[in-house]
């Protein structure tokens, strides 16, 4: 994996920007579990005037799943649920495309996206 991406993944693992339980502001909740590795994620999605106003996540996640969840929560703000569901890994990773070629870890990265699709 690209060294800079790895550093960012670990930094986000230690200091995630959107990790936490925002039940008080939350309108909707969705979750997903990776049965092969035991990871699970819960997304808390707050909706105001038809758009996502706040998003956070919690759960038991590896660093890559944590990274995917954190980036997803960051990028859904201001979007409709439909728009948020259509966000792709490529859009989240931008130029850090190395992960796209690793199907096992990509599955980890997409765990939060899998949860959001169930909303």
């Amino acid at each position: 994996m690209d060294k800079l991406l790895l550093e960012e993944v670990i930094a986000r693992y230690k200091h995630p920007k959107h990790r936490g339980d925002t039940k008080s502001k939350c309108c909707k909740k969705c979750s997903a579990k990776n049965l092969s590795c035991g990871d699970d994620v819960v997304l808390y999605i707050g909706i105001q005037s038809g758009k996502i106003a706040n998003a956070s996540f919690n759960g038991s996640l590896c660093s890559i799943a944590n990274y995917g969840a954190d980036l997803l929560c960051e990028s859904v703000i201001g979007k409709t649920v439909g728009e948020a569901k259509s966000i792709t890994s490529q859009e989240l990773l931008k130029t850090n495309t190395g992960l796209l070629g690793n199907p096992v870890r990509l599955k980890c990265f997409e765990l939060a996206q899998d949860a959001l699709k169930l909303l």
Binding site: M1, L6, I10, Y13, K14, S36, C37, G38, D39, S60, L61, C62, S63, I64, R105, C108
Partner: protein
């Protein structure tokens, strides 16, 4: 101990390979045997009489003899399959017709998923009942007992001879999954007292795509084929087929010829190094790793009265850092390990390790330096994930 025999280390000099329980690396003589077949006599076997076909048939038969001698069996008791999983399925579905509703199939919590799923399917089809040894079940009506000789997670070597005796007294059959044990210690089917024994080539320095099912002569007579096809019968007509009454009826179609020949070469290699020496090497490395890694390795000393010792496989659980994160960062240092549940979900559920473990496992090429590099990197990863 034998690093120079493995050309991968010339091509990947910095590789620290600690995943031999997953698959072993291949020595030069195995690579040569497969290449020699392709380059000099790559014909089909047992069907034609030209020279290169006769050569291939002889080499294939020779490999069967080597396999048999390696485990103290007769060549006629060896069935080649595609994998250990396939061999286990051949055993399970081959004796399914002997089971009645209510019969018990006894499993241990240490089984690889392959040795669970097949039996659950057999139980579903027959009405037989799966019972687990750690539940201390009543052993009456146990018709099948199957166990891993060495756990693929904990590396523990088991001795179930008292239960084997009990099952045999009732007329039951015993299948040993020797997949992890076969490359780590001398195996003798008579000493084990088993009726069936399964293992794979790729975990014993041979090519992938080949498994072995040993079936004691009288057990083979009771076994039904899992797959049917050509080269398995005495006669065939529009009305019916009369099957052979030997191992050939379990090997329809063209087998993995080069794989079996490669397996024969792997056995030559293991015999040349010496199984007693390999076992000693494994045990020394295990002791060294347990000492070097101190409290990181799972404590495996108290769970089963049937455990004899630990050989060549160590699980390392961590309370917070995901095994896949360890594996990802170890890979950055060119250290190869297995991470996760390693196809042993039942044991992981019992140990409440839903995310699994980092598993390190040794081969004849593993050195104490490999373990030192791993230990240093393992500690470094913990620091990277927890500091700052």
């Amino acid at each position: 101990m034998n690093r120079n025999d493995f050309p991968i280390f010339k091509n990947q000099p910095s590789l620290v390979y600690l995943d031999s329980a997953n698959t072993t690396l291949k020595p030069q003589n195995v690579i040569n045997a497969v290449q020699n077949y392709y380059e000099n006599y790559s014909a089909n076997i047992g069907r034609t009489t030209y020279d290169i076909s006769e050569h291939a048939t002889a080499a294939f038969n020779d490999a069967r003899t080597k396999v048999a001698r390696f485990i103290g069996a007769q060549p006629s008791e060896i069935i080649f399959s595609h994998s250990a999983t396939h061999a286990i399925n051949q055993a399970a579905f081959g004796i399914m017709h002997l089971l009645q509703p209510g019969d018990k199939i006894l499993l241990t919590e240490f089984e690889h998923n392959s040795n669970v799923v097949a039996w659950q399917q057999v139980a579903k089809r027959t009405g037989a009942k799966i019972v687990w040894i750690d539940d201390n079940p009543n052993l009456s009506d146990v018709k099948i007992f199957t166990y891993s000789l060495v756990s693929n997670i904990t590396g523990e070597l088991f001795d179930y001879r008292s239960i084997v005796k009990n099952v045999h007294t009732q007329g039951g059959l015993v299948l040993v999954d020797a997949t992890q044990a076969i490359s780590r210690l001398p195996i003798n089917v008579d000493q084990l007292g088993c009726d069936l024994l399964a293992f794979s080539s790729h975990k014993m320095y041979g090519p992938s795509g080949v498994g072995v099912l040993y079936a004691r002569q009288e057990t083979m007579g009771r076994l039904q084929p899992l797959v049917y096809g050509s080269q398995t019968f005495v006669s065939i007509s529009r009305a019916s087929t009369e099957l052979l009454e030997n191992y050939a009826k379990f090997e329809p179609g063209t087998p993995n010829i080069e794989g079996v020949i490669g397996l024969g070469a792997a056995i030559e290699y293991l015999n040349q190094v010496g199984m007693a020496k390999i076992q000693q090497h494994d045990e020394q490395l295990t002791t060294y790793a347990l000492k070097t890694l101190q409290n990181a390795a799972l404590n495996t000393t108290t769970r089963s009265s049937h455990i004899k010792k630990q050989v060549g496989v160590l699980p390392l659980p961590h309370p917070t850092i995901h095994p896949h994160d360890f594996a990802m960062l170890l890979n950055e240092a060119n250290i190869a390990v297995r991470a996760g549940k390693a196809c042993s979900d039942i044991l992981m559920q019992k140990l409440e390790l839903e995310r699994g473990v980092v598993r390190i496992s040794f081969g004849v090429y593993t050195t104490e330096t490999d373990i030192d590099k791993f230990a240093a990197e393992y500690q470094e990863i913990i620091a990277r994930f927890t500091n700052g």
